[in-house]
Subunit: 328 residues, 2 copies
């Protein structure tokens, strides 16, 4: 989001708008490079953005050749290797200085791209962007978050998995970032901030929440107190704060529930809806329960980095690129 701070040279009102450029980690994710390349091409067509596909030359080129890219601003930037989910991010980045996520982050650092989108290891994206782009003052490390559910598209939740054990000060840092996002991206003027807990009463909550309460109350933020699990849908707060352990579990629970409900409803409605109607309804249900498939920003980084779900399909990749476009 830092790129919002300084006007670009092309920012003069009468100059044509520079085309937005997104660096996409073509090697990241369970279905890379095929689905990533497909999603990137779809995004270039639909959103009119320029996409720099960063990945091993040969396989990415092969995927590109299968698709119709005529007239689209899609370009391959070669890199070597990738960082897997099972590797220690910092170690892997040292051993693979030309890994796709690093090369892509460099493009952002050098101003050749406005944002990075990756479906690869969250740890690698965090390490790479912390090292190359740096974190905002007061942030030890970035946080993951955003409007994580299609059912509640204007409620920002973080952290969703980057920091599993958090001190009160870290939670407050998340709240400040969430407010910036709510204001700048969602247009909420004075975002209401809440701590996710087990009851609205002040005495309820675990030690972490109880210790965070005074800090939040004195923060100058528009703090509205504790909210409960169902309040992720009730719009009692615009920014809901939890540690990455709770956030990640709730996010994945939502996805699992979406799948279970799609199965249940397919059985119940198969005699009532046409195949097309069923398809449309099921994909809407999938969408509203899998918000973060579309990618969430890394908060607290000097630059725009969107980390998508490892299992992303082409449409999810395109969605993450769209999220990057909105955030930039």
């Amino acid at each position: 989001m830092a790129s919002n701070e300084s006007p670009t040279p092309q920012g003069a009102q009468d100059a044509p708008k520079r085309r937005l450029t997104i660096a996409v980690d073509a090697m990241g994710g369970d279905h890379a490079p095929a689905e990533v390349v497909k999603g990137a091409v779809e995004a270039a067509r639909r959103l009119g953005v320029q996409v720099l596909l960063v990945g091993d030359g040969e396989p990415v080129q092969r995927e590109l050749e299968r698709l119709d890219t005529a007239g689209l601003a899609v370009q391959l930037v070669p890199s070597e290797g990738k960082v897997g989910d099972d590797e220690h991010p910092a170690v892997a980045l040292r051993q693979k200085p030309r890994a796709s996520v690093l090369v892509a982050t460099h493009l952002v650092k050098e101003g050749k791209a406005d944002a990075l989108v990756t479906m690869g290891s969250t740890g690698a994206a965090m390490a790479s962007s912390t090292i190359l782009l740096g974190t905002l003052e007061g942030m030890d490390r970035p946080a993951l978050g955003g409007p994580f559910l299609g059912l509640a598209p204007n409620t920002v939740v973080l952290d969703l998995g980057s920091s599993v054990d958090c001190r009160p000060g870290q939670l407050l840092g998340f709240a400040i970032l969430g407010c910036v996002f709510a204001r700048r991206v969602l247009g909420v003027e004075n975002p209401r901030v809440a701590l996710l807990s087990v009851g609205a009463e002040e005495t309820k909550g675990n030690r972490q929440v109880r210790e965070s309460l005074p800090l939040f109350r004195e923060s100058g933020l528009n703090f509205v107190g504790n909210v409960e699990g169902h309040d992720l849908f009730t719009r009692k707060a615009d920014v809901i704060i939890c540690d990455g352990f709770v956030g990640n579990i709730v996010m994945k629970f939502s996805e699992g529930m979406g799948v279970a409900l799609v199965n249940l409803l397919q059985g119940r409605l198969k005699d009532r809806l046409s195949p097309q109607e069923m398809e449309a309804l099921m994909s809407q249900l999938w969408e509203v329960t899998h918000g973060t498939r579309r990618g969430g920003p890394l908060f607290g980084i000097n630059g725009v980095v969107i980390v998508g779900h490892g299992a992303s399909q082409a449409q999810d990749v395109a969605g993450a690129i769209e999220m990057a476009q909105r955030v930039v």
Copy 2:
């Protein structure tokens, strides 16, 4: 569950089965006594159990008179006052020695009832049953849990909110209780136990999970490792363990999501389903996402205590009584 251990005097094979007796806290819950009395009468009719309705004489009697109780084993046991959600449980119980939850727990202690069902303050139910019935060896305090989702009726999750900050030893205690429940009530022979975390890998998870892993591995339980949020639906484990902070948030999140989805689907399907079909589908959706409305047992108590949701309607109360019947 302890009542399973010792055969009752009426247990001889040829003797007629003694009618199960459930003590119901008629004053507990947001819609008490009206909905509680209604649910209790419904349960007496449908399940053939005897119900002792414990509550303030006059209002409970008034509700009873509105209903047809001819031929049903429903009896009023007078008490004085109730413990509210906003009161400190232990203090309130000292100040109100004739409160409904205490009188009802006494009925279980004295063998006049086989189980206690309450929709009132969870803290009061825990305090009352800990004081009067006692906890099992090795348990500091009871835990809340059960098969908490209709979408995954054979997966036991605990703790759902009784202990928000847990040491590894407490989590292991929950696991042992969950296994007893899975074996005795759900008939699972060798229940698979998992810790709820943010990734299946051993290195993932917060400090609590990482510190609990070795203890679980050496416990002799059928421990299958860490599972993630979506695994509450995937049957990778029969017993899933988390602390009450995480469990309560996930449980309430599920309820909130159920409500949001019901709203979404009502709009989408109103031209496709008849009012009756819509009603049936929506109540099924409500049911599968609000598992714990039906009540979850307090684990680790020397006796059967079912704590239902404060917002329970009559059918939820009847469901909690049915749960008590199954557990006994």
